[in-house]
């Protein structure tokens, strides 16, 4: 109650809301965190690469040119293979560029689905409590009892590897964790006076859940979503690496590493380039999450 003046006494400048401004405002805020900016830059880089893949990629990702060409080779037809070629003679650079499309499509979609399910159940469990909470928690316990990758392996074996199934598996495996987080945040928020105020003015359940509770949980959720995106990207990569991912010839960073592992002693570029690509993208999301958390703690 009695708090003396400190750094926190500075009121934030008045900001008016419009979607665009919020977006730019968010990026503006991010400027205060170097790590956050670096992360944002990495993500932006890959998003642009994915968007303009056909314009950037020197050759088609499936064209076979010169097997095992080391980086910098100029082919007979005159193309420069900046990062070398793989065992089928496909340009590694072009494949990595197209591979970003795969990962930047499946990872956000899968994360979004997991969040959709996780938020609904988390809000219900946290707000209603009682048997709903018990039931949902028991189910979550069972799913979370599986080591994550074992769960993926079992699911993919049962339903077979495909793009849709990857999304399903990620949703199924991540939703319980998200539910737990949302539930925890809801438990904290549901005893606030403004929730009581909404209740005493006869607000409906969906209104309380989605208009009163969810917006106030968004800060930690955005940070978690960034971390989770990174994790989903890793998961998609790992599934590709283990041969449970997208069927070939889709350019996929994980399977690119897997295919070239045997040739690592004489053609290391084939594995190293996609390994660095996926690491940098994950790093981008992790740094962004850190930056966002840092900023949210400051205010």
């Amino acid at each position: 109650m009695v708090q003396d003046v400190g750094a926190k006494a500075v009121t934030p400048p008045e900001r008016r809301r419009s979607l665009l401004r919020t977006l730019f405002g968010g990026i503006g805020l991010l400027r205060e965190s170097t790590i956050g900016m670096v992360g944002f830059g990495l993500i932006l880089f890959w998003v642009l690469v994915a968007l303009f893949a056909p314009l950037i990629a020197p050759v088609s990702p499936t064209a076979t040119l010169q097997p095992f060409a080391p980086p910098g080779t100029v082919t007979a037809s005159g193309e420069t293979l900046w990062l070398g070629a793989d065992q089928l003679g496909r340009d590694v650079l072009s494949r990595v560029i197209y591979g970003s499309r795969t990962v930047l499509f499946y990872a956000p979609v899968a994360t979004f689905c997991a969040y959709f399910i996780g938020c609904i159940f988390g809000l219900l469990a946290g707000y209603l409590g009682g048997w709903v909470d018990d039931l949902l928690n028991r189910i979550a316990d069972i799913i979370l009892a599986f080591p994550v990758l074992v769960l993926y392996v079992v699911i993919i074996v049962l339903i077979g590897p495909s793009g849709l199934n990857i999304i399903l598996a990620v949703t199924f495996a991540s939703a319980p964790g998200i539910m737990r987080i949302v539930r925890g945040l809801t438990l904290d928020l549901r005893n606030r006076d403004y929730i009581a105020a909404a209740q005493t003015s006869g607000a409906s359940l969906p209104w309380i859940l989605f208009a009163e509770l969810l917006p106030n949980a968004r800060g930690p959720l955005i940070v978690d979503a960034c971390l989770r995106m990174g994790y989903v990207i890793i998961t998609i990569g790992v599934l590709g690496f283990l041969g449970l991912g997208l069927p070939p010839p889709t350019p996929d960073w994980g399977s690119m590493v897997a295919e070239s592992r045997a040739m690592i002693t004489f053609a290391p570029w084939m594995a190293v380039v996609p390994a660095i690509a996926i690491s940098s993208l994950v790093l981008g999301f992790n740094l962004l999450a850190d930056g966002l958390r840092e900023i949210s703690l400051r205010d």
Binding site: M1, V2, V5, V10, T11, Y194, A196, S201
Partner: protein, 705 residues
């Protein structure tokens, strides 16, 4: 390790223990330097108690931290000196500073629970003090001294406390442990930072008593930081009043309380409700405006924009120095006009709200009970088979409220007043008994089952201003939602119009509709909360401690606003509070609760004068009063508040009652005796005896001058 006198070779007891000279404290943030305290002077002699008083954000706690040289990574003292026993604290080596802390200067904190390490036993935390400050002390000696000190601070069963963890004892006991910890090395200077703010008022009384005793016994100097002027009066010899980082007035307690020479000090006294006074005789006068933020202080006098005596061209020209008040030695004021203002002129008393004639009964509570089930999973419970226990949150509550009336429910934490509010609002249902509101039974009707009209006719103002509004929505949209819900306004323009009217009603600028809660101050948020409650023209408003988290000057204004609106709308107000002084100001009827029971109810005058229920009497005596002209009985309640899980049999108050008459109190539930029509007391003591008890608060016999 050197003995203490080595550290201070030149000091003798007739010199000040602590001297602050022009101390400035700043925090260095990304936005630049933010001065928190400016030009702070203070002199504390041995055995003297100095009070530091002010509203939140005035820099009083920062002063304590600056004296301790504990300002965190981004704090610093750019100008000024702090001399402790003649030595400049800035020149101490880190090792000397460490020796000083905890042995020479000790501190007592606002939140005892958070100030104790949760995973170490209290004994270990106490023993650390002698073990670290005196080389020759053995574990055994340290243990014995700690036990002795716990006994000195009047903790029952010190041995048990030594082996306990902080969460195993109550808040009042925790604070006693913190005090014991501070005293273990017999410090010369004790800093007390709001030591009783987090405690209930009857517990507070015990702690204040203890602090007074200690100061006398050890001849310790004290700096007592508080926002509560009444507490300062009870504990201190001298006082400094702070406002926005500067001391605006300092002097002896009598000088500042009775012959204040700064407009802010006077404003502060005018907004404090005094339980001895009547609202007609001494209305509350809020201070207009708001405390300036540290980086937005006005030029010249910081109080200028809120001051009635502001003169452009003089008050807004720096510097505004401290000036001695000529006829009073030791009294200084930071007001350049202190000599020109007529301090005895009567304040323009704002119109006193006339008492409304009583309307019909609108709410009738009849034998209401609320029990919660608690499952006990301990081994003992399993064996004895008492798995399910009941928390008796409300027990046989009966009273009426009439139209336009203000009924106050008073009690300390755990008395069941908030549970009662929840039942009224339909967030909980009653276990037994009736709640008749406008003839409708509300006892078993949760809010989901109430019609829109019923919901609109009973609304609530919440306690915590930082929690009452949803931070994600604008003020306008939050009010608009309630307006749409309760009114026939379907058209968007009509809704908007009504929202603006509501803002007018609570005296907030109309452009606030577009703001978000975080852009509002605590008082402003609370006003929006009031606007929301009155959006549907309710018949009754339940206000749960609506101003307890606000500073006095803001609280006075919000209280005034609330009661004005209520009178104008002839709304019934159920005012839940722990603050007896405030209740005396605004209530028509008072209901006193203890452990879920009503112990006394009646009109305000009846409850505030004998015959009292012994608990009411103790409660009244515990309230610190910032008035040098009254005298009150001191009644310190023994023991702790019993747990609601295991309430005492018979009279709920018998475990702490100072007037317990014997066995009957422990075994039988006391009868409800009627003193006058509607004045009910639940006590075994015969009415005749209760009537003979002297009033708790009385005018002092000897006139001051």
């Amino acid at each position: 390790m050197r003995s203490r006198s080595d550290l201070f070779p030149d000091w003798s007891p007739d010199q000040p223990v602590l001297e602050c000279e022009g101390v400035c404290v700043s925090y260095f943030t990304r936005a630049g330097e933010i001065p928190a305290v400016l030009d702070f002077d203070l002199k504390v002699m041995q055995g003297e108690a100095v009070g530091l008083v002010g509203e939140s954000g005035c820099g009083k706690s920062t002063v304590a931290m600056a004296i301790m040289r504990y300002l965190g990574r981004n704090g610093g003292i750019p100008r000024g000196r702090v001399l402790y026993k003649g030595r400049d604290m800035a020149e101490l080596t880190p090792e000397e500073l460490r020796q000083l802390r905890g042995s020479e200067i000790a501190m007592i904190y606002q939140e005892p629970m958070a100030s104790l390490n949760p995973s170490l036993t209290l004994g270990r935390q106490l023993m650390e003090v002698p073990l670290n400050h005196e080389k020759s002390v053995t574990e055994k000696e340290a243990y014995e001294r700690s036990v002795q000190m716990l006994a000195d601070v009047k903790l029952p069963d010190p041995e048990r406390v030594m082996s306990a963890y902080p969460h195993q004892i109550s808040g009042g006991q925790q604070q006693r442990v913190v005090i014991a910890m501070a005293l273990l090395s017999q410090p010369s200077l004790l800093l007390l930072d709001e030591p009783t703010t987090a405690l209930d008022v009857t517990v507070e009384a015990g702690i204040v008593d203890l602090i007074g005793e200690i100061a006398a016994r050890f001849n310790t100097s004290m700096i007592y930081i508080s926002h509560n002027l009444g507490l300062i009066l009870e504990t201190c010899d001298r006082i400094s009043v702070m406002y926005s980082g500067v001391v605006v007035e300092e002097g002896s307690v009598e000088q500042v309380f009775d012959r204040m020479r700064h407009p802010y000090t006077r404003g502060l006294f005018d907004c404090i409700p005094l339980p001895g006074a009547d609202k007609q005789a001494r209305p509350l006068i809020p201070i207009g405006g708001q405390l300036p933020l540290p980086h937005q202080r006005p030029r010249g006098c910081y109080f200028g924009p809120r001051c009635d005596f502001f003169q452009a061209g003089r008050c807004d020209v720096p510097p505004i120095p401290m000036e001695p008040v000529t006829d009073q030695p030791g009294h200084r004021s930071r007001c350049i006009r202190w000599d020109e203002i007529d301090w005895d002129a009567p304040r323009q008393a704002a119109a006193v709200a006339e008492t409304l004639d009583e309307g019909d009964v609108i709410l009738r509570i009849d034998g209401l009970r609320k029990y919660y089930e608690v499952r006990d999973n301990s081994l003992a419970a399993l064996v004895s088979g008492k798995r399910v226990r009941h928390v008796k949150a409300n027990e046989r509550i009966s009273f009426d409220a009439r139209e336009g009336q203000t009924v106050a429910i008073v009690g300390e934490s755990g008395c069941g007043k908030s549970t009662f509010a929840k039942i009224l609002m339909g967030l909980e249902t009653a276990s037994d008994g009736g709640v008749a509101f406008q003839g409708e039974d509300f006892a078993d009707k949760p809010v989901q089952k109430r019609s829109a009209d019923e919901v609109a006719s009973m609304q609530m103002v919440f306690q915590n201003p930082f929690d009452t509004l949803n931070p994600s929505h604008t003020i306008g949209s939050q009010l608009g939602r309630v307006v749409r819900k309760f009114g026939d306004y379907k058209d968007r323009r009509e809704v908007r119009q009504r929202v603006l009217e509501l803002l007018d009603l609570v005296k907030l600028p109309r452009e606030f509709a577009r703001r978000r809660p975080r852009q509002l101050s605590g008082g402003q948020k609370q006003r929006v909360g009031i606007a929301r409650a009155f959006a549907g023209n309710p018949k009754m408003v339940v206000a749960d401690e609506p101003v307890s988290a606000l500073d006095v000057s803001v609280a006075a204004a919000v209280t005034r606003l609330l009661t004005d609106i209520q009178r104008n709308h002839r709304t019934t107000l159920l005012f839940i509070s722990h603050d007896l002084s405030l209740v005396r100001y605004l209530a028509d009827r008072v209901v006193v609760m203890y452990l879920g029971h009503i112990v006394e109810q009646g009109t305000t005058d009846e409850v505030f004068s004998p015959p009292y229920h012994p608990y009411t009497e103790a409660l009244l005596s515990a309230v610190p009063i910032a008035d040098t002209s009254v005298e009150k009985k001191r009644i310190i309640l023994e023991g702790q508040l019993p747990s609601v899980l295991d309430p005492p049999k018979g009279c709920p108050f018998h475990t702490r009652c100072h007037r317990k008459i014997g066995q009957v109190c422990e075994t039988e539930v006391p009868p409800v005796i009627e003193d006058a029509a509607g004045h009910l007391i639940a006590c075994h003591i015969p009415l005749g005896e209760l009537r003979e008890i002297a009033p708790v608060i009385a005018e002092k016999q000897v006139a001051a001058e």
